[in-house]
Symmetry: D2
Subunit: 361 residues, 4 copies
């Protein structure tokens, strides 16, 4: 019997979301003859009456959709269903309204594309509804556990690497220290991957306790070897963790009110005497055209999400693991942000190349 | 008789400098059998003893050089020869030392690649030396007069347009106002060209007196027509001119201490109730791989600069005008920064497309 | 009084067509309050009943459209209205049916985006209808007269240059002669512009009488100077002109039945003893995302085309000339293909850089 | 005690080779204080006297090297050491001369970057020398066993996907069947990965027995659903295997003498009545700037290769497996080309998306 499944994207946008939506709708149609309903603006569309939703016509989902950044359904990271911000400033539990909205759509299953936090919210939201839920991991930070890669990460690394490719000639031409601040709310995956790929001299991430002094020392050594410029990558979260706040009291005085990148550039300029310039990469890491790799991953995960529903399963997340698409219980994922493994290939490779991580070793 | 000519790059780096150097050296060699000497780090190399300089071997200048960003000779925007900053903080006239350095190189002519300011300095520096000087205009701002285009501008526009391409999907996905701050010290060429190419809704440049209120009004109209996001491009200089400081007294209170982009995003968020995000593009506009157009322009100008020297002329700047490479007196260029023509094709096209320039009309 | 204008794209697609359509529709709406009708599949849509046409809603024409390659209206280079190929193989004059279709649309003016040939056909088609016609020049070949640039040319040069950037490392790694065949039906603009920008050693175009012997001689000289690889760009039409067929009678024997690129690579391999490889760039030159420059040009020309109609003029082509958007009589354009000027900046720059054009000089 | 290790690149070039060389030299220097010798032109450099080799100075290996395509050491796929083609046309065993060349370099270990075939040759060449050998897998085809990915594959997929992105708008604009022929000597990895990422309708690879009739049928079905264009990807080897030669006897008559892409386009045009165009991607798949992913992989493998030598091991290949860098015996790799797994994630995802593989299922 033909079923109806829903799909929504939730949380910060990233590259590859449209490819997930397209893959799921094509799989539902070609594989099972199902209808796919796209829900607008994340969970917010469920608060509208009628619910903000559109039937996805497979014939309209051509390849040009998959290569667009963003999400054509819209997304949101406002509006926690359980503590929704009301115009009067109060917070209200509107999860019941959303579940009611879901019921009006008469869905036999829901696919949610989101990060760690969004998947947790969706899971709790769906639990009382009885509608099976499958999550697809997406986040430029790559901090979702149980999957090697989340949708959007490859593109974010590519954009950050491209920025290093552009900063290196400027740094070399002007004998400058170029600091690039990349996204990374809790984890330094983008910073370290782009730092290796883009040939950075220094990479600072929240997972490693670093100090400005060690960075200064490294730059001094480079200079002694004849290098007149340096490339530094710093994850935005690197300055927000306890570890990153270096030795002391004076940090408070000239504390970064404008991002760790600019703060660091000023500190390095002062300490090394070199010109230093900061670039904050910002939102261009999200909306870019997805890499082939992100599109491939998005397609594979979107397909699998439908298959999981067809198997009668729910409360699962699809994942990429060891060259295979698998699915895992959502409960093993939520609340367990995955950070850069101190003993893993990324950190070991960085150290082996002589990249300074700002720590003692 | 074989001559020796020098070449140096001065001021902020941009895309296409290496292509100029390569073209000049190839022309000197193939066309005249001359030797080309590359001087290191702009005028600073002339202070070293021996002078920091390298003979450019045509056989080594393969095409891979022309596509690299930056300048392999190095450049500098520190160190005005006539008021050079000394370690003790004082300013000293070191032009004599530089001229002496030039003499040690025994040059029959010098090509300087620089913007308005750099060409002026080089012209004055060279005047007492008797060495013929030819300038090649370069600046991402495109504010050098007497030439349709300066080297580096095409690439800067391409990078800014690419950034808009990346911000648009994020803005649309999240119903946000996305503000992009682009370079442009005195002129808004990059902002308006990229704004048209990238489909911006609002473009703010120093040449047009704008107010936040009019921008807010335009975004409100877009919203009334069903649009839920907006793209705003602002030139960094747009907020520094008198004209841009809108209504006045309250501007002082929340004045931008961190660039006009972030200041504007905050103002727009407050006034429209929409989420607004700023991205400051920064140095990635300079060091990128040059566009084909910049490489073509750089090659044509580099060649012509040598030809001008071969014709026995000096105190000239090579230029692109009406599909031809020409040369013009340097005195007609210096001190006459070219801004965006209010009645020109760029502004007329922008207005015709319905782009808001923030002014009354 | 509100008018209705039509727009269609005709002939081979190229980058920037969607930006023209968008600009015209936005200008018609914002500037004059007019309605714009998009006609499908070039002139073929006029044969359908009802005519294949769609009203362009300005609110839907966001910036993402302008950056898409191709034409969302569809185009065709089949079906000359005056000699239309019928299923039985005969040719029939169907221009009357098309004019009848146009009348059904009740248009007050028509904008046609096309090359030299398409604009000629459209002009003759429209003449008896009394509907004012304005042409917008587009062609990757840049061979339309009276305009410095046609829409699509900048992108084609960028793609060809990018291909050279990719072939150079392979050639250098393997000590090969890499031959790149680029588009160019009658003119060598793409070949020579990309050849300069991409650092080619040899550029062969239909405008210059070349011989294989001279190319072989040039490669031998490069080798004597220590170079072990070479980059050759050849326009597809270079082998089709009388001039390009080199002297020898044996040319007939091993004549190119597969494009001049592969034929040339074989000849060069045989004559120089080096490995030689040909790459035929093909259709990727057309459908790429338009460069910022093409989008800017397309926007400026699309706007002006509407303005010309608003001025009550017809039988004109809009053009880019000396930093201005102008319009010229169509009769001065049609039948006058513009080739590369032998004394112009492109050829002079190429020769000055030591690029071999295959001729005696 | 300080050691000397050698490194060479062998076989067809691809993106990421320079990043491997850089990583190995940096690791050798920073990790162990060793000297790294780069051998020129693959094994051919070992035939020169003195041997063509250069000491790699870590201070010169800046990040700009890692982002260059090709191999700055040079490579070759001519000249099997055991059957070297002599000027007189005969084949000669010159392995002894090469081993002698190696001895002159007094190496304590050799790293060879190559594909399946090259690693086999190098392994046999080194065996009698006693010099420990470690291989680094590179091939755009991704057909080396025991590793998830080989260096160069990610970039080749990215370039092929980009080509599909460019062909799709042209196909849609002109209602054409666009055929893209990609590299893939024995395996269809590039074709199927790019086909999924680029939204192809049909993917033909040597691992799946396909027939033209089934492709024609699929295109007919797409047309019945309203689609007027189609994207077809075909691996160059797809037409060379027995399986790919479809049933009909007439295949012999119009057999591909110019690659399967053009042959297929002609067949599809004839059978479907649609216009069809072929693009042969060719060498641009090799020399492009490496993706961030390829640079990361190259760096990780280059580092590990040195570590394997430091561990006193030899006759190993470094590999990427399940998020880790490992090393495996070379004997498990050579002669075991890895093709696309019929039951793996790629083929399953392709089928699930409704992509036609040309076979019965």
């Amino acid at each position: 019997m033909s079923r109806r499944i829903g799909i929504l994207t939730s949380g910060g946008d990233c590259a590859g979301l449209n490819a997930v939506i397209r893959a799921a709708a094509l799989r539902a149609h070609h594989g099972y003859g199902w209808t796919t309903i796209g829900i607008g603006r994340g969970t917010l569309g469920l608060l509208e009456r009628p619910v903000e939703a559109v039937t996805l016509d497979p014939a309209r989902l051509d390849s040009s959709l998959a290569r667009q950044g963003g999400t054509f359904l819209g997304s949101t990271n406002r509006g926690d269903p359980f503590a929704y911000p009301m115009p009067d400033g109060s917070l209200k539990d509107r999860s019941g309204e959303m579940v009611e909205g879901l019921k009006q759509l008469r869905l036999d299953g829901l696919i949610g594309v989101g990060g760690d936090g969004s998947l947790d919210i969706l899971r709790r939201l769906l639990a009382p509804s009885g509608v099976p839920f499958v999550g697809v991991p997406k986040t430029i930070d790559n901090d979702v556990g149980q999957t090697e890669r989340a949708v959007g990460y490859s593109t974010a690394v590519a954009i950050a690497t491209e920025a290093l490719d552009r900063l290196q000639p400027t740094g070399a031409s002007h004998e400058r220290v170029m600091v690039l601040e990349v996204m990374g709310r809790d984890a330094g995956h983008i910073a370290i991957a782009a730092g290796i790929a883009g040939g950075a001299d220094v990479v600072l991430i929240p997972e490693v306790r670093w100090s400005v002094d060690r960075v200064v020392g490294h730059i001094a050594r480079l200079r002694a070897e004849g290098r007149t410029s340096a490339l530094v990558v710093v994850a935005e979260a690197a300055g927000q963790s306890d570890e990153a706040v270096d030795e002391a009291a004076d940090a408070a005085a000239d504390a970064p009110d404008h991002g760790v990148g600019e703060w660091l550039a000023k500190r390095l300029a002062k300490a090394t005497g070199a010109e230093a310039r900061a670039t904050v990469l910002g939102h261009v890491q999200r909306g870019a055209m997805p890499t082939a790799e992100d599109r491939l991953l998005a397609s594979a995960l979107g397909v699998r999400a439908v298959d999981v529903l067809a198997d009668g399963k729910g409360d699962r997340m699809v994942a990429w693991w060891n060259r295979q698409v698998i699915d895992v219980p959502l409960e093993k994922v939520v609340g367990r942000s995955r950070t850069v493994d101190p003993g893993g290939a990324l950190i070991r490779t960085a150290r082996a190349l002589g990249i300074c991580l700002g720590d003692a070793i």
